[in-house]
Symmetry: C2
Subunit: 644 residues, 2 copies
Amino acid sequence: MEFDRNCMRGFPLEELTSEQDASLRQAAATCGAWAVTMTAAAGSGHPAGSLSSMHMYLAVYGVADSTPERFNERDRDYVVVSHGHTSPGAYAALGWYGFFDPEDAMAHFRQAGSAFQGHVERSVPGIDWGSGNLGQGLAAGVGFALAQKARNTSGHVYVLMSDGEQVKGQIAEARRAAISHGLRNITVLVDYNHIQISGRIEKVMPSNIRGLWETDGWLVRECDGHDPSGLYHALKEASASDLPTVILCHTVMGKGVSFMEGVPDYHGKAPSGELYDKAMREMDASRRLLETAKEKRKTGTGPLFVERQVPPVFVETGKPRSYDPDILTDNRSAFGAALADIGKMNRCGKGSPVLVFDCDLASSVKVDAFSRECPEWFMEMGIQEHATATTAGAASCAGVASLWADFGVFGLSEVYNQQRLNDINGTNLKLVLTHVGLDVGEDGMTHQCIDYLGLLRNTFGWKLLVPADPNQTDRMVRWALARPGNVCIAMGRSKIPVVQTPDGKAFFAEGYEFSYGGLDVVRAGKDAAVVCMGHTVRMALEARAILADSGVDAAVYHAGCPLALDRASLEPALRTGNVVTIEDHHVKTGLGSIVQGVAADSDTGDLSLSCLGVSRWGDSGASRDVLAGMDLTAAAVADRILER
Amino acid sequence: MEFDRNCMRGFPLEELTSEQDASLRQAAATCGAWAVTMTAAAGSGHPAGSLSSMHMYLAVYGVADSTPERFNERDRDYVVVSHGHTSPGAYAALGWYGFFDPEDAMAHFRQAGSAFQGHVERSVPGIDWGSGNLGQGLAAGVGFALAQKARNTSGHVYVLMSDGEQVKGQIAEARRAAISHGLRNITVLVDYNHIQISGRIEKVMPSNIRGLWETDGWLVRECDGHDPSGLYHALKEASASDLPTVILCHTVMGKGVSFMEGVPDYHGKAPSGELYDKAMREMDASRRLLETAKEKRKTGTGPLFVERQVPPVFVETGKPRSYDPDILTDNRSAFGAALADIGKMNRCGKGSPVLVFDCDLASSVKVDAFSRECPEWFMEMGIQEHATATTAGAASCAGVASLWADFGVFGLSEVYNQQRLNDINGTNLKLVLTHVGLDVGEDGMTHQCIDYLGLLRNTFGWKLLVPADPNQTDRMVRWALARPGNVCIAMGRSKIPVVQTPDGKAFFAEGYEFSYGGLDVVRAGKDAAVVCMGHTVRMALEARAILADSGVDAAVYHAGCPLALDRASLEPALRTGNVVTIEDHHVKTGLGSIVQGVAADSDTGDLSLSCLGVSRWGDSGASRDVLAGMDLTAAAVADRILER
């Protein structure tokens, strides 16, 4: 009787029959052969870890409510592969369950242009999170689980991990977050084969794996990771548990291939020739798999599948708040007020859940009002920024709006790679950075985030918004929350004046609508141009006044979307022939550098371009003193214009 | 009888007498008044945590062999303040022990231009590690302890931490590293007051603090953190322990000031007016402290002290190895060979210890030969990059040479903020990044470090070296290890040809000596210039050959020190009027951006400048295919030159 590949899905069975168990053992051998063939066809990859995890993959993809038909839906089970280098194992199991033709994976694994990257990516159907940098998967799983919980679905999350990565700190952070948020819908499987690249895990970096999970409050179960019945039993028990559960799966690295078993060298080495043939014999498979794969590899790079869909999210963002010209407030407060508005509106309406993440700075980053309006959507994560970045990112891919507010140094500098991986994963995170630039109050250099533009510029998808005042902040926040994609909004700490029109009205209020790109023409001018960003608009306006006294008519352009600056938007400024940029950011990696790039690329004729910004680690003091100490003043701007 | 402020140093006493105990309690009140006055004078800062830690500071600075006379020496005790926001407490205790005049700290705390930053910095005598971003201090302490152990000194390391930061993952990493390396010379004190910014730690992010330290193998002791005798006893016991010890010090936030005790709001709020006066009365101090401080504050920004000295390190770097033009090898192997040479030479000679850190990639990053030559200097850290970055950085400030080799994504992208903090701390780390750019083999986009230049450019001190071939790699490695400062050497994975002179000799061998700055003029040319970096020199040379067929004489300049490029070095290239840059790096944040900046800043006349680089997340495949897929080829370079 043929094995029903859906027989385990949703745990309908009390336990597996011996026939079902035997079928899955046979499937593991078949998939093992596919996985080893992938590495052999590519001439690289990670066969032994794939074999180690193979029964785990078959068990998890067998029970999870994530099928070839449903894997792109919003409300379902999610499966995260944290040890992304075991991609051949994951691809083989997904192939076996019909997500795609396994021959395509064997043919095109690690081939430039193919979907089947060396480490799992969301380009492959059934892969919910791209990984490869170890230690990140659990936090992603927590994000999916929080989103499913907020949506009141029955969705369960499975995270597969290696044992070597257990020492990575981010894992402990995510573990605590799961407990703190009362998650019951997450199960972790650890491939406990005791081998990492450099040898036995007990030698490379000893850790009490079981003890650490227990100490952080998880339910721990152990089983033979190559026993389908045991795995099914443990998964079923975990799915009904009141606590998040980790299953330590005792496995053998390279299981099923005698010369790979327990040999660290096969962590990342593909077998070839005689050894490949031997592996196939031992797994009862044909060596012709490889010939077929190699032939097919010559014909192209395989299917690219459908572009990963963004699960729809509906957020009402309401009407903007306007701040009168006589008001002095900080952008943080304007953000907090807009966010609280949005929370209130969507909580009562039909909007999607809006999850707001905080790392113990709620009152400083002004998400405290939101936390009072929508306590069930407020996600306190403690001082655990690495897990938070990944958790908030993953949540944003699972049917909720997701926003994380933190100081710039913590929300971006500290977790740059997590935000880079969010970009790779195509998440939809809204990242609000307060306390950027030197404008952090008296906290000093460790707290000065002078690299937010310079960091995000290394990615490809992140949008960066830098509001000039509270009115623009309000509008940018509402704009961002209504849209997919990763958007960062960066602001300083201080109270700042409302930007005004020449006739004293609020510039970014009535008649202003934010759209991404271009420059805000705050003042026209024909003799020179000051291009500013964020709160430095005040200095630019003051410089304009100083220059007017010298008979120089200087334009003031505000770059609220600096990463989108192009030749067309900068053309009028460059045409004046006398341009100064001013930014509360590292002078070499920010706005000035972008303007230089456009200028170098344009036929600008005779141009004087001078860039003012942060040129050393800053002092600790009142923001105005720290800025002045860095020569970031209206007078300095005017001097540069006049020096021409 | 006056209290002898050195009576505890080195633990000469069995226990404190009741008079000594009473004197220290009085000192805590005095220092508490100073600390609160600092925040009152500045109008900001963190008084309550400072009071909570005050007895701990007095105990630790009292027992530690780090005195006003010896704090800048190499072999001594080190004290790390991980909860850097309690700087007023640390400054007060240091003042009390005579490191400087406490009046200066009271007058100039958080004043722009002063040494007394809001979070502790190494600009203040007695502060061994600048912190403020929580969770980083233990890893720094481990670095100091490893260095002292490698130097065979009796130096002990004390780390003071808060309880709120205990959930940060990096701490767990550092804890395991201490056990794994058998450290006995480190003692941690946790200020266990149960309060963090957002409330009680049990509510914000629950964690089993004692259980986590025990599970990771540390000896745990508990004591009353406001009891000098108990603290002395616990510290003495810890100093003699065979295991690293953590002392959980039970404290009261805001201890000694009734209205601050246990009130989260005073985490970061300075008292003023009546409340300040009340605080002084309760601590038996004069409210005139504040008047004096305010008066003095008007007179300047206080002493800047002596620039922190780099403890001398002597590393023999030997003679360069030369690779013949007919050899095809990878830069990683050239690095590994040079490092093994240096290890061997210094191990037998009189050189300083050379500590080499690895995160489970020894054979891939080629530090395996070194690990065999110098096993006692080889620091295996497991997959724990955050702790490693900080540990390796701190070690480099304590009398050893310190080098960390890792894939680019792990050694920099993942730990960008730790490398930024190393810059702020003025460390002397040598960071060798292999697998940078798209040249990572088939590992795919998560492993492609296309931002190494773009990231380091956000700092002020880091030097970046990008070798063109194995010969230049060898010379750069030897150069870097002989010098202080933070230096990163970035290289790809593939075997590459030796760069040759026009007459077929090795370009970077005989007659070549590396010095920092400038461009390598690989080929002169008058019609156009290709400016390349690292392995793209091969494409540049091939493009030159293609162009020669079209009658175009193109120069080839190699930028081995891209962050040092300036107008003078680029002038000859720009003068050709037709420049193409090519880099295996994000095209917007790397070499091209630097050249654009110089061009925008120069009077270049009619210039065509075109930049080739990485413009999307890369494919997974053979490096040459991945590069070609990104249009990074000799043909593309030639086309751009000819398009002009």
